[in-house]
Amino acid sequence: MNGGTLLTVLFCAGALTGGVLMLIARHPMRVALALIGAMLSLAGVYATLGVHVIAVFQVLIYVGAVMVFMVYVIMLLDVRDPSFLHRYGGTLLPGVAVAALLAAGLAAAVSGGGAAVALDAGADGGAAFLVQPFSAGFLREYWLHFELTSVLLLAAVVAAVAVIRGGRRNDG
């Protein structure tokens, strides 16, 4: 196993650890931190794959915006309610069983190979995913999609404001 593969394995383990910690931790803040850890590990995975742009954006957008927002909200809300004392509801065993089943099924599909998953072991996009070629190609061919997402973001902003405003009106 060479260094690249070792790194990949390490980062994958990190992501999985983060995931499991999310399930176990009691305080939501700790859950958030575990998630941040998992996301950073994933960014590392993307980096080892050579998709640097995605790795960067993972950190910037996901960790830097989404998780920060999450942390703020956790700070604002009083989290010491019954869900703090009792982490798990009645659906603990069924939930875990079901998730395990799903994982097993999907894994069977993936490892079975054949027509289910068309994997090409050695293929590699190569240099197309470095920052400069990626950016150039992105803005040259996919600029319309880029603009449309800004519309989506606008809609999201309006919706968020509407939700808060409406909520405030009900409250008052």
Partner: protein, 100 residues
């Protein structure tokens, strides 16, 4: 197991863990975070496949998914906020209107 399969298995595992978290945990915010984990698992598989092609289309799709995820969490959290303000609790077990 080669690298691609490893990554796929990891993606599947992350998805399953996130799903388990959604079903098992009682706190609403924790549920949201587990949903993010699920999404990350899916993105990992997408990146795995995208990286094998010669075009950047898959990677662009991942970028756009980031944007969607952000806007989604931007709306979901205010909703949970309002809900918790009304019920004075984040415990999803108390949200029982769908009963019967």
């Amino acid at each position: 197991m080669d690298r691609a399969q490893l990554l796929l298995m990891t993606g599947i595992a992350l998805f399953a863990i996130g799903l388990a978290g959604v079903i098992v945990r009682r706190n609403a915010l924790v549920m949201l975070m587990c949903m993010e984990l699920m999404l990350n698992g899916v993105i990992l598989t997408l990146v795995t496949f995208a990286q094998q092609t010669a075009t950047i289309a898959g990677a662009v799709l991942v970028l756009l998914i980031f944007v969607v995820a952000a806007s989604e969490i931007g709306i979901a959290i205010p909703i949970v906020l309002l809900l918790s303000r009304q019920r004075r609790s984040l415990d999803v077990e108390t949200y029982g209107e769908l009963k019967g």
